[in-house]
């Protein structure tokens, strides 16, 4: 008897399940969002802009995608609302498929929106299950909508292009989760990637030699500085290098220093790796940070004629590199301590680690303390390789 009951229950369950098909969305029923932008409109509403992939442009293999007729790879569409969700619902009325955020590469916040406060934006993208916390967060000068309404020549879409750019960490890059962590911490103020759409390069082709088809492309141009969740200023690319050194992140890039014997000519050192250590010192009143940066690099370019492949020259180069890095950090420090008055380097975290008791008093007025702190930067440079040349190729002995 019991078996019969259970049997019918199971049958009912099975039919229920089969007819239900909750949460089912075929791939052909979804609109794959690759990039998202959020702006603040003039009347204070939130404008959500999405860059949606057009699958037909991604056909791979032989005959299917006929050569030559390059279909646009993305579709950019926006809608407004009081919250991100409301804007999304209005978007749903324009987009004939279900919006799908799982592969969203970038989240771009427009300048005005960032000034108003990013919490209004990021909360949705953290709370929802589809958007990944790995998405790159960036702030654009101007409108995020304009930024997304570009296309890329190498990547299929500009969102992907921006994603690739940030992933390579050529400039300051921050993921949504890292931004959220900075936002949640009292020991550091958030910073985000600064991006802009700028004309870059041309796409020459037969018949196009004269018609320069330069169009706007995405570009990383530095960092955006926040106090709490509000944008308060920018760092340009040079200042951002300083930020990166002090944060101990993304030890890539090159340092250009004057050649020891010919100061008007330059020598380029490409950074391989490095590390940053922040040692706070606090005696109850005076706050000091000793920043020790260790760098390793290779020489890649030399404009001068002198023979640098000598121990004493390398030593001189090392000092020059150290000085260059110190300068960069000084610029960034000056901006942060002086102009913006926020600890964007995470010195507070370092302080917390060492002085947990003092931190409890200082944490609520940390930014003031930070602006008053003294920062000593020591740079320890190591130049390992000099490439395939021992010296500049065309030269008389000197």
């Amino acid at each position: 008897m019991l078996k019969k009951i259970a049997f019918f229950l199971l049958l009912a369950l099975l039919t229920g399940i089969l007819s239900g098909c909750w949460s089912r969305k075929e791939i052909s029923e979804i609109a794959i969002v690759l990039g998202t932008g959020v702006d603040l409109t003039e009347d204070g509403r939130i404008r959500l802009t999405v860059q949606i992939a057009r699958p037909t442009a991604f056909v791979g293999g032989g005959e299917a995608g006929a050569v030559g007729t390059e279909a646009p790879a993305s579709w950019v569409v926006s809608a407004e609302g009081r919250t991100v969700e409301e804007a999304e619902r209005y978007l749903a009325m324009k987009v004939p498929r279900e919006l799908y955020w799982g592969h969203n590469v970038i989240l771009v916040i427009g300048e005005e929106m960032a000034k108003k406060g990013t919490r209004m934006v990021t909360n949705f993208f953290q709370r929802e299950r589809q958007p990944r916390e790995n998405a790159w967060l960036m702030v654009t000068k101007g409108e995020a909508k304009d930024f997304l309404e570009t296309y890329s020549d190498l990547a299929k879409t500009s969102a992907q292009a921006a994603g690739f750019l940030t992933r390579m960490k050529t400039c300051y890059a921050v993921q949504l989760r890292e931004f959220a962590e900075m936002l949640a911490s009292k020991g550091v103020q958030p910073t985000a990637t600064r991006v802009e759409a700028k004309k870059a390069g041309i796409t020459p082709g037969p018949g196009q030699e004269k018609v320069f088809t330069a169009h706007k492309q995405v570009e990383l141009t530095g960092a955006a500085v926040f106090k709490e969740d509000k944008l308060i200023g920018w760092l340009d690319a040079y200042q951002t290098r300083g930020l990166l050194w002090l944060k101990g992140e993304a030890m890539k890039g090159a340092v250009i220093v004057p050649s020891p014997a010919e100061p008007d000519k330059n020598v380029s050192i490409r950074i391989l790796r490095g590390s940053t250590k922040v040692v706070p010192e606090y005696d109850g009143e005076n706050l000091r940070f000793n920043v020790i940066i260790k760098v390793e690099g290779n020489m890649v370019d030399q404009q001068s004629r002198e023979d640098l492949a000598r121990p004493e020259k390398i030593k001189a180069l090392k000092e020059a590199v150290a000085e260059a890095i110190r300068q960069r950090t000084a610029v960034a420090l000056e901006k942060a301590q002086g102009e913006y008055g926020v600890d964007i380097f995470g010195f507070g975290e370092a302080f917390h680690r060492k002085y947990k008791k003092a931190w409890r008093e200082l944490k609520d007025r940390w930014d003031e303390e930070f602006t008053r702190a003294e920062v000593n930067v020591t740079v320890d440079v190591r130049i390992r390789e000099i490439g395939l040349l021992t010296r500049r190729a065309s030269t008389e002995e000197k």
Binding site: I17, G20, C21, R24, E26, I27, S28, T56, F58
Partner: protein, 545 residues
């Protein structure tokens, strides 16, 4: 699941079951209803005529039974009769060694000792017949069975005893390559349809008096010979008892293949997984016996059953033991992976396409999305169509006469592979998935892949309904079911679950021969030591030329 099917089938088969029960009852009351069988313990009469009459009555309308009456060479009063079945007896032997010997060439006896009727039987048995195997019986039943088995029966007038000559000889298939289990390296012999040949094939491999081959007869009508083989000292005696008792309770009218027996001795008849393994390779059977298993051979089929059966057996090819262990282990790993693929790949694909797009990296997702733009079906229907057409193709390939088979595969590959993708009916990715699944399911034993094929469709339905959750639930149920299965008392998943450490070296990986010291613990409960330790070859460091 089991009881679900049971209740279902109870409903469906209730009528039929009752019917068959009635039929059986009728059968038992009127014992001779089916055919004219001799009464039990009916003995032969001394009169040849009477005996012949009785036998002829039993073999009424059996045109292939031959009765040859003749007289004894020495004494014409002694009448003899030979009875055999045309085609089952070796005609040369019958005419040369029996008839010629008795009717013409019986050696001169000691003078004065004339062979009387009374001494005829004794004389014939001892000196008259040039046969290697001679038996005597006075029971009519035995005579009938002997004739049916292909033996030649000699009746001597005046004696209640019949002489059974083992002059069997019929047209039989010769020993060939194994068809269902081809190998690259290893013995090429496979079993044939004759029981005796098969036992000989095993005996050739295990030359030990410990190899016991017991026979019994199954099938009320077919009277099929069945042999149980095991190696005494290695096998668990209780297992042999269990096998015998399960075989003895079989009361069916016919046993034409080991499959009949398999279904009648299984531990869990409702399970899609086979709990009795079969093979047509004598070397495999020998290996099984040496691990303590019992083999069941049936006359008339080249497939031999081995019990108990473990899940891992289906992943182990006999070749694994002939190739070097590193390669064997690698191949086994591939088999293991393809087993998982053949079960889950289509459902995983369905789940990923219709629920969990996150599973794909972005470029792959975009590429799949592009492929699927034109496809008019939901992915479940698409995969179902493809899977079904694959199954149809496969079945057609098996059933069709060989020359046409090739045509089918070409048409199948072209129509299903190329054309459907070009027409935009099916996404290329789906074809890849289905093809991979299909190929993967052929890497391990056929009988086992059938189970996975059935379950694959169930999983597909589940994952179409609930996505990965459905797939996982289905897999969980399958796992629980596998955990609950036993084959002749041995847990089906052992030695993986419950884990027996030492036996794990012959599961997914095969350890080298010098590392396998013991026999499987749960199967061979006696004499677990397989070989000495320290057999790892250590050639001298500086070999002399």
């Amino acid at each position: 699941m089991r009881w679900l099917i049971r209740t279902l089938s109870k409903r469906l088969f209730r009528g039929r079951k009752n019917q068959s029960r009635d039929a059986r009852a009728a059968n038992q009351t009127g014992d001779g209803n089916l055919f004219r069988a001799p009464r039990k313990n009916q003995v032969l009469s001394p009169d040849l005529e009477t005996n012949l009459k009785a036998i002829k009555a039993i073999f009424d309308k059996c045109s292939d039974v031959i009765y040859r009456e003749f007289v004894f060479a020495q004494n014409e009063q002694i009448r003899l009769a030979l009875i055999y079945i045309d085609g089952l007896a070796d005609k040369g032997q019958v005419s040369e060694q029996i008839m010629r010997a008795l009717a013409l060439e019986v050696p001169m006896v000691v003078p004065g000792q004339e062979i009387t009727k009374a001494r005829a039987l004794e004389f014939i048995k001892q000196r008259g017949l040039c046969m290697h195997q001679v038996k005597e019986t006075d029971k009519l039943q035995d005579v009938i069975h002997a004739i049916l088995s292909g033996d030649t029966v000699l009746l001597v007038d005046g004696h209640t005893c019949a002489i059974i000559n083992g002059a069997r000889g019929w047209e039989a298939r010769s020993i060939t390559d194994p068809v269902a289990e081809p190998t690259v390296r290893g013995p090429r012999e496979s079993f044939v349809e004759t029981l005796r040949t098969n036992t000989a094939l095993i005996r050739r491999r295990i030359k030990s008096p410990g190899l016991k081959i017991e026979t019994l007869r199954l099938g009320e009508v077919t009277n099929t010979d069945v042999a149980i083989a095991y190696v005494e000292g290695i096998v668990n005696d209780k297992l042999v008892e269990e096998v015998k008792s399960r075989l003895e309770r079989i009361k069916v009218d016919a046993v034409l293949e080991t499959g009949y027996i398999e279904e009648l001795i299984e531990d869990n008849p409702w399970s899609p997984f086979p709990t009795v393994n079969h093979t047509e390779k004598p070397d495999r059977v020998a290996a099984m016996l040496l691990e303590g298993r019992v083999a069941i051979l049936v006359d008339g089929t080249p497939f031999v059953l081995t019990v108990p059966t473990l899940f891992v057996e289906y992943l182990q090819a006999s070749e694994d033991y002939y190739e070097r262990f590193l390669f064997a282990s690698a191949v086994r790993l591939i088999r293991f992976v393809s087993m998982i693929l053949s079960l889950t790949l289509p459902s995983l694909y369905i789940a990923a396409i219709s629920f969990h797009h996150e599973l794909f990296p972005t470029p792959l997702l975009l590429s799949i999305a592009a492929q699927r733009e034109a496809v008019p079906f939901p992915v479940f229907i698409e995969v179902l169509i493809m899977e079904l057409s694959f199954e149809i193709l496969r079945e057609a390939g098996v059933r069709l006469p060989r020359p046409i088979g090739q045509a089918v595969s070409i048409v199948g590959a072209l129509v299903i592979g190329e054309a459907s993708v070009r027409a935009g009916l099916i996404a290329a990715a789906t074809v890849i998935v289905v093809a991979l699944t299909g190929i993967a399911s052929f890497t391990f034993f056929y009988s086992f892949s059938i189970a996975f094929r059935l379950l694959r469709f169930t999983l597909m339905v589940l994952s179409a309904a609930l996505g990965l959750l459905g797939l996982i639930s289905g897999l969980a149920v399958i796992t629980i079911h596998l955990c609950s299965l036993r084959s002749f008392g041995v847990p089906y998943l052992s030695p993986m679950i419950p884990t027996t450490g030492v036996d794990l070296k012959d599961v997914v990986l095969r350890s080298p021969w010098w590392g396998m010291f013991t026999r499987p613990r749960l199967i061979a409960r006696q004499d677990q030591k397989r070989q000495e330790q320290g057999l790892k070859p250590t050639p001298p460091k500086n070999p002399r030329p």
